[in-house]
Symmetry: C2
């Protein structure tokens, strides 16, 4: 029995996206990552730039993140809309979904295997520079900023603590376990997956 859907929640620079892509290739599954932005834009009408800025992280201008005086909140509307897109994709099965709080959205689906990928600061700094290059902003600040915004977004929309193992079937530290080993490990686990209840100890 295999996991029908694999979700990858990850720290910035941990290699989670690359792992997700390679796992999808190995299993012959569809892979949803940045391409989700186009899909969400088409299906919801939100501008791509707005989704990129707010779909996975707390917006840079925190006022956007709080309820507006008009009685609605664009970020919450975006979350609702992209959640529907994620749930529809999961319904079709045989896919790997990176980010978008998919672990939380699919927490009660016995056929979804959820993974959390993280690594120490130095490993992540090196990977970010190698993968995305240097910018005017020092790498230390980029990492800190991304970590803070991603965590805030996740905790705001899920009411869960970032990085609690109990929410996941598999958590892997890529600072010590190489990316390709992480891929092998996830593929092996997915192939032997037993649909079952989620651990609720962390809730």
């Amino acid at each position: 029995m295999s996991a029908k859907v694999i979700t990858i929640t990850r720290e910035f620079g941990s290699g989670g996206r690359t792992i997700g892509r390679k796992v999808a290739e190995a299993l012959g599954y569809s892979f949803y990552d940045w391409n989700l932005v186009d899909k969400i834009a088409t299906e919801t009408g939100f501008a791509k730039e707005f989704i990129e800025e707010n779909g996975e992280e707390q917006g840079r201008f925190s006022a956007v993140f709080t309820s507006s005086s008009f009685g609605f909140n664009l970020n919450e509307q975006l979350f609702e809309a992209q959640s529907r897109v994620v749930l529809n994709l999961a319904e079709q099965g045989n896919c790997v979904i990176v980010g978008r709080c998919a672990d939380y959205l699919l927490r009660n689906d016995p056929n979804t295997m959820s993974c959390f990928i993280y690594a120490n600061h130095d490993a992540r700094k090196n990977r970010v520079i190698n993968e995305y290059g240097e910018t005017d902003v020092p790498i230390e600040k980029r990492l800190k900023d991304k970590d803070k915004r991603r965590k805030a977004h996740y905790e705001y929309f899920t009411s869960r603590k970032w990085g609690k193992s109990f929410y996941y079937d598999l958590c892997i530290d890529t600072g010590r376990i190489p990316i390709d080993t992480a891929v092998d490990v996830i593929v092996e686990a997915a192939k032997n997956y037993t649909p079952g209840l989620r651990n609720t100890d962390g809730d």
Copy 2:
């Protein structure tokens, strides 16, 4: 490059002990679990019963757990003593150590791979009954009591949160990933282990 030491921290009934034994067999490593109690008793002079009751869990009589009016605390002395035993074993390398806060004690050792094993309540209840049998105490109460005491012991001596993924290289939910797959996954990760810094995001 392989991990020289593998620590297994686990929820009661998750199969962590069995996994540790099988991983040790697969790698040809020494295995330290209950046999540690004898070793600690011999090397420290503490009674076996006292170590069994307090070496991994908060004692049933919580007064024992607080500082005594004599200015010393037996539980803390036991923790110190068993920590020395664990660190000595780790120094020799090529071993799997279950429990005893070994993940915490070896947190700065780049050659130690730390694993956390957990599972949902139902899976653990079934495993406890199959492995240890029924007792007069209802299984639900046994599980709750053990979870509470183990967590309290861990958090008291490590000042860490129980179950935070960042402390571990690998976290596995055996409610969904079968025991034998968990063994394969740990062995694969251990064989490809890259000594490196621990993730400190959780500290």
